[in-house]
């Protein structure tokens, strides 16, 4: 898919919301109103999105997102909510300000920057951020000990770590941590090497100096 302009992204996002709001597709007037633009310019943009295969519109009929259009729109929306969450939950920005800022920032972030932001939000467990005193495992130094408090993220991570004897709530000791590459820990009686990416999802409450 080609890079979408920020205006196009806004249109897709607005269409997604309108579709979710119920009803069958969105009319041109609704769309223009939602975005605060003139129906004429909205119609122009819709034509362009149609060429790009992102929406369908029979003459004088409602506008629908195509499958590709929906994927793109959802993608834009994720960016928006991630940035918004970062602003509200980490920086404590009021929600309405955050919403406006997120609209502007979301287009400006490079893909890599966004990925990092998302990883960070995953890491701190954005759903219900507890301001606790845990640190991600890779920040612990060799010889440090701590209690494993959380394992963020899905994909069976908790299941796999648990089965290897690394449970939430157990005491772990860092055996090796070179600052890059995997981290070696001892949990209970098991010695386990954990790739750095995975280790970042493990939140440890230190019981010694880091």
């Amino acid at each position: 898919m080609e890079e979408l302009s920020s205006a196009q992204q806004d249109y897709l996002e607005a269409l997604l919301r309108l579709e979710r709001g119920g009803g069958d597709g969105a009319s041109l007037t609704d769309l223009a109103r939602a975005l605060g633009v003139k129906p004429a310019s909205a119609s122009q943009m819709v034509a362009r999105l149609k060429d790009g295969g992102l929406v369908t519109q029979a003459p004088r009929d409602m506008i629908h997102l195509t499958r590709a259009g929906r994927t793109a729109a959802e993608h834009v929306e994720t960016r928006h909510t991630t940035v918004r969450e970062f602003l509200t939950k980490v920086l404590n920005v009021p929600p309405d300000v955050a919403d406006g800022d997120a609209c502007k920032v979301e287009h400006a972030l490079a893909a890599d920057t966004f990925n990092r932001l998302r990883d960070f939000m995953d890491h701190i467990g954005a759903d219900d951020i507890e301001r606790d005193n845990t640190v991600p495992l890779p920040l612990m130094h060799r010889g440090g000990t701590g209690l494993l408090r959380r394992i963020a993220g899905g994909g069976g991570r908790r299941a796999r770590l648990s089965a290897m004897g690394v449970h939430v709530g157990t005491e772990i000791r860092v055996l090796q941590n070179a600052g890059r590459g995997p981290v070696m820990i001892k949990a209970g009686k098991s010695r386990v090497a954990i790739g750095r990416g995975l280790a970042t999802c493990m939140h440890v409450e230190p019981t010694s100096d880091l």
Binding site: G156, M164, G165, L175, V192, A193, L198
Partner: protein, 677 residues
């Protein structure tokens, strides 16, 4: 006396590295290789034995940490237990780490299959000051518990007695894991809808369904059941505010933790922890890498320094054989077949046996000592930067022994992507079968002090190409997400002489078997193709060969290989090398008609040195070794690839390795010429 009724099927299950293979060997008296890194048993192995007049079949399941089907092994074990439950399940647990091993036991108990728990590593537990109350453990689990020391074959008798008893009077324990008020009602509701004719217990199947893990293909109401399970799952998650999966994990862990706490006591004495001390040094960032490098260099040094005198000895034996055969037999086809075909061809390969054995001795030692997993740890950082997975390192190392088990070992990788990429580059790992080819050419064309470095350069080149290809394949076909490294580091153990020798012996035996079958056949066929059709009376050997079938084939391929500097004789050898790489050597021996008089590889080396293609040109020899290193490994690899990945990937593998080999050999030749070699 009981009439021998049906065979009793036993399955061995347990965590990786719990000693399953050792128990398997104890039970069956078989000679499977044990390894001290998690995941040596990657394929179901089976064997049988007779006890008290009854036949038992033993299936050694791959080691798994749980039955959640996150990796291929877990899937294999889970499916095995669900679809074809054994008569008796032997769960082997490591007494030194009971809590963790009971996590799997908690899931196995749910299978409702007659089960014995073998409490292994009792010697180590005792050393560590752990006291395990096996009577209480048996009570809590409601299955027999037998303390054993598999490594020293202690307790096997008692284990067998229990297996026999359960085989005749099947009794599954009544112990269950209580999943708590959120989950149990849902399990009951689901279980009521399951097909009761299925072999596995409905409670367990319902639990698995609920955890969203298992597709019960054998149930007719499959889709409806899935939907029902999904609805129940959503309900539970809404109330518990936690994924169902986590609830299960918590319960299994709770069970394991509770049982272990009741049954294990530890004295307070401080002990010397060898593993901790060694790891402290051997896995440090720089030191670890240096040590690993030394290990590898030491291995190659060993292979040559110790191997060469032994090879010389074997050469003499074959020379003597050749000479006696020549002396005894009258001139004619029979003598030619025996001396040129059999003794020259097979002998040319068999003399390199010492090299192979030493290589496996070294690999076996690294594997059994537990160091292999550390090597994966210290290499993970580098592997990642090279675009590979840290865990693929172990299969790659195994590939130096033989590519076939290495490709099987890729099953320990979690994602299909990682497995395929690793399997596709394993053929570039120079296996033992290529060693005879190197030994032949390195011995003939390089001065003694250059031999080990040249050999090492080939291995390194293989690794380099593998890394480059992994990245390229990753980019071309698979995208770049990789599953994270997660690897258990077993305690260091002194390898038992028995287990290392067993590995060396099985390898030696399979090498000799290969020499006696495939290579013998290849040699005879080659001899026939090289000597027929009979040349028009009284021509020189050289021209006689040119007229033969083999010559014709070689000539046909020659244009393709000419740019690499190979002639038609080498081309023929490369074609037969496709069956097994050692065949390159045996074919050359036949093609060059050595074997008379001197015999063995020495004669072949002399002949090669004088051959116009190679004369005074180590570069051509090196180019040839590069080509042999990289092109399609052998029929064995093709077969395992077919089995694991289907014919499309197999065809791709065969084609791309050959192309890579050609290009690499060509570049080496060009570079060599440019540098004035």
């Amino acid at each position: 006396m009981a009439t021998p009724r049906k065979t009793i099927r036993i399955a061995l299950a347990g965590n990786p590295n719990c000693g399953k293979t050792s128990v398997f060997n104890n039970l069956t008296g078989a000679h499977q290789h044990v390894g001290n890194w998690p995941g040596v048993t990657v394929e179901q192995k089976s064997g049988d034995f007779t006890y008290d007049g009854v036949r038992y079949e033993v299936i050694d399941l791959p080691g798994t940490y749980s039955l959640s089907a996150y990796s291929v092994e877990e899937e294999v074990v889970e499916r095995f237990l669900r679809t074809t439950p054994p008569d008796v399940l032997v769960n082997i647990v490591d007494a030194t780490n009971l809590e963790r091993h009971l996590f799997l036991t908690a899931q196995l108990i749910e299978q409702r299959v007659p089960m014995v728990v073998a409490l292994n590593m009792m010697d180590e537990a005792e050393e560590q000051g752990l006291r395990i109350d096996d009577v209480q453990l048996a009570q809590l689990l409601d299955v027999p518990v037998v303390p054993i020391i598999a490594r020293r074959n202690k307790g096997t008798g008692q284990l067998l007695a229990w297996i026999a008893q359960l085989g005749f009077e099947p009794r599954a324990g009544a112990c269950t894991v209580d999943y708590g008020p959120e989950i149990e009602p849902a399990i009951a509701a689901l279980a009521a809808h399951l097909n009761p004719r299925e072999p596995a217990s409905p409670h367990m199947r319902a639990a698995m369904l609920l955890a969203g893990r298992v597709v019960c293909k054998t149930d007719e109401e499959d889709a409806a059941l899935q939907a029902r399970a999904a609805a129940l799952r959503r309900d539970i998650e809404r109330h518990a505010r936690e994924p169902v999966e986590d609830l299960f994990i918590a319960r299994w862990y709770g069970f394991a933790h509770g049982v272990a706490r009741t049954c294990v006591t530890q004295d307070a004495r401080e002990r010397f922890d060898l593993t901790a001390r060694l790891d402290d040094v051997l896995t440090r960032p720089v030191l670890g890498l240096v040590f690993f490098g030394l290990c590898m260099a030491g291995t190659f040094e060993l292979v040559f320094a110790l191997g060469n005198p032994l090879i010389a000895l074997l050469e003499q034996v074959f020379a003597w054989l050749g000479a006696s055969a020549t002396a005894v037999l009258p001139t004619g086809a029979l003598r030619s077949l025996l001396v040129d075909g059999v003794i020259g061809g097979v002998g040319g390969v068999v003399v390199f046996l010492p090299n192979i054995l030493l290589l496996f001795l070294a690999i076996g030692f690294l594997e059994d000592s537990g160091y292999m997993a550390r090597a994966a740890f210290v290499m993970d950082g580098i592997m990642h930067r090279l675009g590979l997975h840290g865990k693929s390192f172990i299969p790659m190392l195994l590939g130096f022994g033989c590519n076939v088990p290495a490709i099987m070992a890729t099953r320990t990788l979690e994602t299909k992507r990682d497995r395929l990429i690793t399997s596709l580059i394993i053929p570039f790992m120079s296996c033992g079968a290529r060693l005879p080819v190197y030994a032949l050419f390195i011995g003939a064309f390089f001065a003694p002090h250059w031999q080990a470095p040249v050999l090492m350069s080939l291995y390194l080149l293989g690794i380099l190409v593998a890394v480059a290809m992994a990245n390229l394949l990753g980019l071309l076909f698979f995208g770049s997400d990789r599953s994270p490294l997660l690897l258990e580091l077993p305690p260091y153990r002194l390898p038992t002489l028995r287990s290392v020798l067993m590995l060396v012996w099985t390898r030696a035996w399979s090498y000799l078997k290969k020499a006696g079958t495939v290579l013998l056949a290849a040699s005879i066929v080659m001899w026939y193709l090289c000597t027929h059709p009979a040349p028009p009376g009284g021509v020189e050997h050289e021209t006689r060969f040119e007229h033969s079938y083999a010559g014709t084939v070689g000539k046909a391929i020659e244009p393709l290989l000419r740019p690499l500097g190979f002639d038609w004789k080498v081309s023929v050898a490369l074609v037969t090398g496709f069956m097994a790489k050692e065949a390159v050597v045996s074919t050359l021996a036949v093609v060059y008609d050595v074997g008379d008089g001197e015999g063995g590889s020495h004669a072949l080396q002399n002949t090669l040195r004088e051959d116009p293609v190679f004369r005074n040109r180590p570069l051509v020899a090196y180019t040839l070794m590069v080509f042999v290193l990289l092109y399609v490994p052998c029929l064995g690899v093709i077969a395992i690839f077919l089995k694991e990945y289907g014919w499309k990937w197999t065809a791709f593998m065969a084609a791309y390795t050959t192309v890579v080999a050609w290009v690499a050999a060509f570049l080496v030749r060009m570079a060599g010429v440019a540098l004035g070699f």
